[in-house]
């Protein structure tokens, strides 16, 4: 499929398959279209050409009820958690259960505590989002994302801004939840080490398309210049350090002296 914002094409002729039950990582440069892929799957935006299929159903053709039913089968972790700031940790996780089910409050309480326990934050249930750290916010958001037992969980930059301990915790949690709940996970990330440690399949997105893909081991051995630059964090390569500009000598007015 192809997708863009206005006249600007972000993704062109991208053909991507996410196998059921796998952890698939989307990696690439900032602004390369990784988050756009997540938005397309949840139909927050629509493809300008081509199809996005979720479990065999074309996302773009669903009516509003169909879209809502499909989204109930997905969980999404936003980059900074997107917790509801006026609700406590407990109420944030209970939110989707209260909105979508008629479960009695004692049962909701048990479910919420189980979800919070899975992310290690059962003891933080009464805190407000402003009282917890960024890493904890994301774990609460993860508990909220799995509240309705989704089949697909999408993670948008789950490691951004986390300290090494929180990053390791988050990475292990993604892998454990994927295996324990039998879900499919799509992880958008820049962090090579953490992402390679949990992913079954890694897709590099660059220049509006898929530049390379494969298992983490295969990509570590890859000779592709872009993959090499990304994995080794080299400042220059196919992805240029400098934004397109006139020569600096010209900008500094030094050209006339030559």
């Amino acid at each position: 499929m192809t997708c863009g914002y206005g006249d600007r094409i972000i993704l062109r002729d991208v053909d991507l398959v996410v196998p059921r039950g796998a952890v698939v990582a989307l990696m690439g440069t900032s602004g390369g279209g990784k988050t756009t892929v997540l938005r397309l799957i949840g139909r927050q935006i629509e493809a300008s050409a081509g199809q996005v299929l979720f479990d065999g159903t074309e996302v773009g053709t669903l009516d509003r009820d169909g879209l809502m039913a499909m989204r109930r089968r997905m969980g999404m972790l936003f980059q900074f958690g997107a917790l509801f700031t006026d609700l406590s940790v407990f109420d944030n996780v209970a939110f989707p259960l209260r909105e979508h089910t008629d479960l009695p409050e004692p049962m909701i309480r048990d479910l919420v505590l189980m979800k919070l326990d899975a992310v290690g934050l059962r003891g933080a249930r009464d805190l407000m989002p402003s009282q917890i750290s960024g890493g904890m916010s994301r774990r609460v958001a993860l508990a909220r994302a799995i509240a309705l037992d989704p089949e697909l969980i999408m993670y948008d930059e789950p490691f951004a801004g986390l300290d090494p301990i929180s990053m390791g915790v988050a990475a292990r949690l993604i892998r454990q939840l994927n295996d324990a709940l039998g879900v499919t996970s799509i992880v958008v990330s820049h962090d090579v080490d953490e992402t390679f440690s949990i992913a079954d399949h890694v897709v590099f997105i660059a220049n509006g398309g898929i530049a390379a893909q494969g298992s983490p081991e295969a990509l570590r051995r890859s000779d592709d210049p872009l993959v090499r630059q990304f994995v080794s964090a080299a400042p220059d390569g196919p992805v240029r350090f400098h934004y397109a500009a006139a020569p600096i000598a010209e900008d500094l007015g030094l050209g006339a002296h030559r």
Partner: protein
């Protein structure tokens, strides 16, 4: 040649954008009106908003009403006593407040106090991806977030206008009866005899409901449509005060013309 063509193109683009904006706002208003029964069915969410919008505005409404009542008592008596009608002060104060000042000034204060809070809250929810998160949880933000606030504003605003008028009348009584010495019996009996429940109080209530709808809708729309950046939220909050205040004053003229001129 490109100058005039560019100018025309820009003019056309801005007209199209303006029309699309109006259409978008109209659709949101119709959706919110259609969602009123659904919001009332989950009254706890609405009650929270009545508390947030209403109770938190009580102090400013009460203090402002008192001072407006004081001034009405002074100015009213000054004018009336020149014609030997000082005893009619209670009637003048009550009619001024119930028909005009209560709904209008309460709505202006409501726009400044509650409207800005609504816009900032919705705008910050948008910039913090909370509304997007809600959509991805298959929860409609318009139904879950905007509609309870809309109904809360519709209910809170007439109550605040009533409080404003009541406190203002007490202010007029304090100045007129206690300080100036107008006869208390005349103050209250003139008011009782001259204020019509339907024509004066009823029309005032209708005004305050419509002002509540206007201010709350403008505030919600600005928050919902703002750019999800700090600057965007700040601009939207400013627009809420300006647009809601002008809309209230303009609407007041139209309503007054319809209600009292016939």
């Amino acid at each position: 040649m490109s100058g005039p063509v560019d100018l025309l193109a820009r003019l056309g683009a801005s007209v199209r954008a303006g029309l699309a904006d109006i259409g978008d706002a109209a659709r949101l208003l119709l959706r919110l009106l259609a969602l009123v029964p659904a919001a009332l069915a989950r009254f706890r969410l609405v009650a929270d908003q009545i508390h947030f919008l209403g109770n938190h505005s009580l102090a400013i409404i009460g203090v402002s009403g008192l001072f407006v009542g004081f001034v009405l008592g002074l100015q009213g008596y000054y004018t009336l006593q020149r014609y030997g009608s000082g005893d009619a002060l209670g009637l003048l104060v009550a009619l001024s407040l119930v028909r005009e000042l209560g709904p209008v000034v309460a709505a202006l204060l409501f726009a400044g106090r509650a409207g800005t809070a609504l816009t900032a809250e919705i705008g910050l929810m948008k910039s913090g991806e909370q509304l997007a998160a809600m959509e991805m949880m298959a929860v409609d933000p318009v139904r879950r977030v905007l509609a309870p606030r809309f109904v809360g504003g519709l209910i809170a605003m007439p109550l605040l206008a009533a409080v404003f008028s009541a406190v203002g009348i007490i202010g007029g009584w304090v100045v007129g009866v206690l300080l100036i010495g107008v006869d208390a019996g005349a103050f209250w009996s003139q008011m009782q005899g001259g204020v019509d429940v339907f024509k004066d109080v009823g029309n005032g209530v209708v005004k305050s409901i419509l002002f509540g709808l206007t201010v709350t809708f403008v505030a919600l729309r600005q928050g919902h449509a703002c750019r999800p950046t700090p600057e965007g939220v700040a601009r939207a909050t400013t627009r809420t005060v300006v647009m809601a205040s002008l809309a209230v004053l303009g609407l007041d003229f139209v309503l007054t013309a319809l209600m009292f001129s016939i």
